[in-house]
Symmetry: C2
C-alpha cells in the first residue's frame, strides 16, 4: 500500500492501483484523484482518516491510500539493458529510493538490487523514489553475472579513476555501496571510480555521489 497524493497519483498513472482509499471531502486534490480512478474502473472506497493513519508509516498522512500491484523484480538476464545501476548494501530505504529516482531521471535502463540491500518497496523507498521504484525495471543478479555482462565501475571515494576520465561505453554498470562501508561484494574485474573531494572532506553521501556519476555516464552517451 502507498499513501500520499503524489505517490497514489503516480501509481494510478502507471496503471498499478488496484484499489483506492480516500477520505471523502478532505481535499479537492484527493476528490479529483478519486474521480479519475473511477473513470479508469479502479474501485474507490471511502474511509475515515483513522484508516489512512493506520495504514501509513508517517504521523500525519494525506487523506489517500492505494493498494498497488508491485512490479516484479526480474532476473537481469530477462531484461534488455545497456546502462545499469547496482545497489550493493544500501541499508536505508530512502537512500535506495533516491538512487532509483536518479537512475530513472538519468535514463538508466534498470537498477539491480542485491539481497544485502534495503527493500525497494519499503514505504520510505517508494516515497524517496517519487514513484520511480514502480516505473523503472528492478532486477536481481549476482556480482559475477553483472561483471560478465558489462564494464563495471564501483563508486569509491578513493577510487583509482577520476569520474571524468572513466569509460562509460555500454554495456556499463555503476555500483553503489552502503552508506558507511562502500560496496560489500567483491566485483571481479571491476575498476573503482572516484568523485574528487576538497581537502578535509571524506566522502559524499551516496545520493550525491550517485547523481554525479550517473549524470556523467549520461553525458558520455548523449554527447
Amino acid at each position: 500500500m502507498v499513501t500520499g497524493v503524489r505517490l497514489a497519483d503516480f501509481a494510478l498513472r502507471m496503471g498499478r492501483v488496484e484499489e483506492l482509499l480516500v477520505v471523502p471531502g478532505a481535499s479537492p486534490e484527493v476528490d479529483e484523484l478519486a474521480q479519475r480512478a473511477g473513470v479508469l474502473g479502479v474501485p474507490v472506497r471511502q474511509v475515515s482518516h483513522r484508516v489512512v493513519e493506520a495504514i501509513s508509516d508517517v504521523k500525519t498522512p494525506q487523506p489517500v491510500a492505494a493498494v498497488v500491484r508491485l512490479p516484479e523484480v526480474v532476473p537481469l538476464g530477462r531484461l534488455r539493458w545497456r546502462w545499469l545501476a547496482v545497489a550493493d548494501g544500501l541499508q536505508e530505504p530512502g537512500n535506495l529510493g533516491a538512487l532509483v529516482r536518479t537512475a530513472h531521471a538519468a535514463g538508466f535502463d534498470a537498477v539491480v538490487v542485491l539481497p544485502n540491500t534495503a527493500d525497494p518497496f519499503h514505504p520510505r523507498a517508494l516515497r524517496g523514489s517519487a514513484g520511480s521504484c514502480l516505473a523503472l525495471p528492478l532486477a536481481c543478479a549476482t556480482p559475477e553475472e553483472v561483471c560478465a555482462a558489462a564494464r563495471v565501475w564501483v563508486a569509491d571515494p578513493r577510487g583509482e579513476v577520476d569520474y571524468r576520465q572513466a569509460d562509460y561505453r555500454p554495456p556499463v554498470a555503476l555500483v553503489f555501496g552502503s552508506e558507511a562501508a562502500g560496496a560489500r561484494h567483491p566485483w571481479p574485474g571491476a575498476r573503482t571510480v572516484r568523485v574528487p573531494l576538497a581537502p578535509g572532506v571524506e566522502s559524499l553521501n551516496v545520493t550525491a555521489a550517485a547523481a554525479v556519476l550517473m549524470y556523467e555516464a549520461r553525458r558520455a552517451w548523449t554527447a
Copy 2:
C-alpha cells in the same frame, strides 16, 4: 551538542570541542577519542549511557557526545568568495546538511542560508553534513545582495538552460529551493538552470540536483 563518534571526532579535529562526554569503556574508538581530547587539553567527562541518550535525538546513540563551539553565520559581505551555494527554503535539516557537505566537497567557498531555511546546526543537519556545517563558512545575505555580487543560477526542473550549457564563471551563485516548491524568493536578474530528466520523471531530489550542478560548476573552474 553533537553525538556520535564521527561527528565528535570531526569537531575535535576542527578545534571546536569545548567538552567531551564519554561512556568509559564502551568502545575502543571512544576511548581513543577521549585520549586524544585529553592530549589537546579538552575537558573529558565520564558519564553514563543514560546521559548520552538524553542528549541525543537518535534512539540508540553511540557512547559519546561533545559540547561544540558552533561557528558564526557571517554576513556575506565579510567573506571573500568566488563560488557560492544558496539554500532558499530547504525545510528538512538533513537535506540542508547534505547540500553543505556537497558544496564543501565540490570546493565551494561558502553556503548562504536564507532565513526561510532549516537550521544548519540542527542535529540532523550536522549529521547529514558529516561535519561540513562546522567547517565550511555559512553566510547570511538577501537575494538582492547575492544578485548584485554574482552571476546567479536558480536550479529548476523546468529551467531555461541545460546545466551543461550554463556559464559558471565566478563570482557565481547556485540557488537551491525547497524540496516541494523550488526557490521561494524572487531572484532579480537570475536565470534558471535545469538538469535534464528522462520522460516520466518530474524532478530529482534536491541532494541529487545540487550534486550534479555543483560538480558541473566545479568542472568549469578546474578545466
